[in-house]
Amino acid sequence: MMKTLIKALAVAAAVLVAQSAGAEEKKFTVAYIAPSLDIDYWQWVAHGVQQKAKELGMSYVEYTSENSPAKQMDNARVAVTRGVNAVVIGPVSSTSTPPLLAYLAQQKIPVAFAGIGPQQGQTKFTSAVTANNYETSLAQGKYTCELAKERGGKEVGMLSLPQDRENAQKYLKGAKEAFQANGCDLVQMLETKGLTINEAVTQANDLLTAHPNIKAIYGMYDQAGSGAAKALATRGLTGKIGITVADGSPATIQLLKDGAIQGIFFQEAVGQGIDATQQVYNALTGTQTTQNMALIMPLVKATDINSDAAKKVIARVFPQ
């Protein structure tokens, strides 16, 4: 009887030791859940997450929610089943986040947001690494207005993201305030549906047809900049109407260098991925985390595009 008891205890001890040893060798896995992967921006965030995960020795898996809150919940469940330890997510919308956060909190999985933040009032998350859309937009609106005035007018047009998104609403709010404060009129705003350059070209053209006195265009997303530039080019108005763009990509950087657009407010997609991953890693390893990381999007003009500062920024925007 005594012998059996000792044997059992020995086995138990061995198992426990083995388990903890294994635990130390076990890698963390981080899941990145994108709202959709058909947009460059979210792919760049993915790149950032992947890059940082590798650096920190974590495994990486990727899911796309295809712009559906239901699929998003599904993805979270699958990730949990798969044994993922942390989640970095760009939600489909801010309003879709409460059930998601509740679920992940219950599963004790740290979650960080990249790009789009959670709904107002939510607290059960590790970190939200987003662009401070409002502050950025104040700056972008001001700059756009300056461009218009330089060109002898005060009418501005806007090519906007779908206004059901929280970031788009914040952008719009900031921009409107900036326009008003600086004496410019926002005469027309058109929302994109497909986020393609093709659509932006058509919309820019129509903006200018309806309001020939527009002297500057505020592009809320990257393709808007390419589209507006193309529209100006066909009309021979390159440079005569100012264009500002948020986000930034190789295409718009080239346009900036060519003088077709006048300013890019870079959203550090890659950077957001990197920072969000760092945050959940911190949560897993018990180090300090920062819950709200709303980054200002720095403005880069044609004149500064080749500076070191600019290069550093660009490195955190898209994969080089």
């Binding site: 992967l37 058909d38 929302e191 497909g194 053209n205 129509d206 047809t209 009309r235």
Partner: protein, 330 residues
């Protein structure tokens, strides 16, 4: 044909063959659509006078070009009583393939041919599965729609591609005929040629025969399978060409470029007077349908209505067109 043996003592040798209805009458529904387009433009013009400027007309023409060309291809399929859901994805994939080829050093022409190849290949796949294996067109083109759409992402991992070639813009915006941009020429030529083939070449009539009464056509010795196959290859190729034009215009290829065009193309064909059951339709009508959709889009933007209303307005236009068609046949 031995008319001598058959000539009977017909006493109306002198009465002339009844004349066909005049061209104007034959195209009366197309005229109606054209008038509707004009009415729409004028309507928008009331709110935004600049809608009637030559600049805006030019914009409308440019914006409509890809849809026009794609609709011409879809028209042929619909005349045969089928449907092609894959045209939007073919459009996108063509752009990606062409841009990718150029990025890898292929010349403009070669890259464009590769892009066109996408349309021919997918059109042929559609054709084979539908005519030889006998699967339903909806199902087959749904499959190719999904496959081509995903390939458009896989090809560059979802990244959109810029086109560096300094000459490629010539395809769309160059001027072979001075003063007229190439895309206008393409649209006109394709429309005229297709309308000619549909009305005046036997093979064109076969499209209508197969769509109208496939059993009767078969009994009459018309090659039903070949005719249907041809329709799908035409549709794929046109969608491809439309994709090339767009890449040439914006010098950029995006994986979702063609996503919204498929439904618009079908809508254009239906507005233009074709029946989804097959057997009717004209190239002129399809083009006018495409123009109408573009005019609606343009009008919504100019007036500043939320662009999400475009769908409702277009839907209304289709309803009106179909109802007019239904009541004019009573």
């Amino acid at each position: 044909m031995n008319t001598k043996a058959r000539s009977m003592t017909s006493n109306d040798k002198n009465s002339p063959t009844p004349r066909a209805p005049s061209v104007l009458l034959a195209y009366r529904s197309e005229l109606a659509i054209a008038m509707a387009c004009v009415a729409l433009l004028v309507g928008v013009g009331i709110f935004v006078p600049a809608a009637l400027s030559s600049g805006n007309f030019a914009n409308i023409l440019q914006a409509s070009a890809p849809l026009v060309i794609m609709s011409l291809g879809v028209l042929v399929v619909i005349i045969t009583g089928g449907i092609d859901l894959s045209v939007g994805s073919i459009f996108s994939l063509t752009g990606m393939v062409t841009a990718l080829a150029m990025a890898n050093g292929f010349g403009d022409v070669t890259a464009s041919l590769l892009g066109l190849g996408v349309g021919i290949v997918f059109g042929s796949i559609n054709g084979v599965l539908i005519t030889l294996v006998g699967l339903a067109p909806f199902v087959v083109t749904l499959i190719t729609y999904a496959v081509a759409a995903s390939l458009a992402f896989i090809v560059t991992n979802g990244r959109s591609l810029g086109v560096d070639s300094s000459d490629y813009w010539l395809l769309n915006s160059g001027e072979l005929l001075p003063g007229i941009p190439n895309f206008v020429v393409f649209c006109l030529v394709f429309t005229v040629v297709l309308e000619f083939v549909l009305r005046k070449i036997t093979a064109g009539r076969w499209f209508y025969s197969v769509g109208s009464s496939p059993m009767a056509a078969y009994l009459l010795g018309i090659p039903v399978k070949r005719t249907r196959f041809a329709a799908y290859v035409i549709s794929g190729t046109m969608a491809s060409f439309a994709g090339l034009l767009t890449v040439s215009y914006i010098l950029n290829a995006e994986a979702t470029a063609g996503a919204s065009l498929m439904l618009q193309a079908i809508a254009a064909v239906v507005i233009g007077g074709a029946s989804l059951a097959g057997g009717t339709g004209s190239a002129v009508g399809a083009v006018l349908g495409a123009l109408m959709i573009t005019i609606i889009q343009n009008g919504v933007n100019l007036i500043g209505i939320n662009s999400f209303w475009q769908g409702s307005v277009t839907g209304l236009a289709i309803l009106v067109a179909v109802l007019i068609d239904r009541f004019s046949h009573r």
